[in-house]
Amino acid sequence: MKVARAHPLWLAYLLHRLSGLGLALFLPLHFWVLSYALNDAAKLDAFLTLTEMPLVKMAEFGLVFLLAVHLFGGLRLLALEWLPWSAPQKTWAAAAVAGSFLVSTTFLLQAI
């Protein structure tokens, strides 16, 4: 029998795991490229021209997405484990964070 489990908490768990795996696969590559900054600057510059390619730009978008998702997933876990709040408290806290994020992003978008 196929097990039904697609509820929000389980999906949040899955997203945190998959983004973590993605970042873990990316990091060795990242450090390998960074090592050229110390050993072979010309090779690093040659490699960085790749970042002009549309496909690499798309991949960078994915990377930022993974980082953002994993960051907020981690904050969610920390809050879940260390803040024994009631359900209404959590709802109000999440609403406050979302509201302040909306306001601050609006200001940021006007500034740039």
Binding site: V3, L9, W10, Y13, E81, W82, P84
Partner: protein, 242 residues
């Protein structure tokens, strides 16, 4: 009159001696009908060898939990109309437990872990002492009250993917019992409880997927209880006291 005359009910049959296989029955549909009613109809009218378990039929005893369309549920209080997939229902034995036969799961591992989690009373007084007065408004008592309506149905244990992946994991119900006793002013051995839940397979094995809280038929919150144990064991590790 119901919109349909019959339901197509697929039941998982088998056990240790015979591999599990699905068997489909056509069961008369009624306006008011629980999943347990459907299973009982099959046993009484179609195949008397169908094995399943129930007792109270009113959601108190925790005997009749089964997998219904992939979700663990108390079948006596699950209305067919709430779970119908088209015109079909699939019923199977609880997940994460050995199958005795057909829909009857072997609950022994579930209750053994209840004991392993130190889910037992450690008295503060003897029978010769006066009964201790308990203040109902303390934070500890409210935490304990939140978990005492557990009916041991094993729905949370069956819903938990951490149990599925780690046979040593104590599971949500046993850990919630430990958290309830940890907060009980009448329990004298909090350290024994924290010892029992902080080892391999204890509360720190939980991945916070939350299926226990999502599917608990009594709307209890084992996830929050496990998170409470995580905080308590961590505080004790760093030298803090309750």
């Amino acid at each position: 009159m119901p919109e349909r005359d019959h339901l197509t009910v697929t039941v998982q049959r088998g056990g240790p001696d015979a591999p599990m296989r699905p068997q489909t029955f056509e069961v008369p549909a009624y306006d008011n009908q629980t999943v347990l009613d459907v299973v009982s109809w099959i046993q009484q009218n179609a195949d008397p060898t169908l094995t399943y378990r129930f007792a109270c039929r009113v959601g108190m005893c925790g005997s009749c939990a089964m997998m219904v369309n992939g979700v663990p549920r108390w079948t006596c209080r699950t209305h067919v109309s709430k779970v119908l997939d088209g015109n079909a229902i699939e019923v199977g034995p609880l997940r994460n437990l050995p199958v005795i036969k057909d829909l009857a799961a072997d609950m022994d591992p579930f209750f053994d872990k209840w004991v392993s989690a130190e889910g037992m009373h450690h008295p503060t007084r003897t029978r010769d002492d006066a009964i201790e007065a308990i203040d109902p408004v303390t934070m500890e008592r409210q935490e304990a009250n939140a978990g005492i309506e557990c009916i041991n149905c094993s729905v949370c244990y069956s819903a938990c993917d951490t149990v599925a992946g780690n046979p040593d994991y104590l599971g949500p119900a046993a850990l919630q019992r430990a958290w309830t006793l940890y907060n009980d002013a009448k329990d004298a051995n909090k350290d024994a409880i924290l010892d029992a839940v902080s080892g391999t397979g204890g509360c720190h094995s939980c991945h916070s997927m939350g299926s226990c809280t999502t599917y608990c038929p009594n709307e209890l919150d084992p996830l929050s209880a496990i998170l409470g144990l995580k905080r308590a064991t961590t505080k004790r590790f760093f030298g803090g006291r309750k």
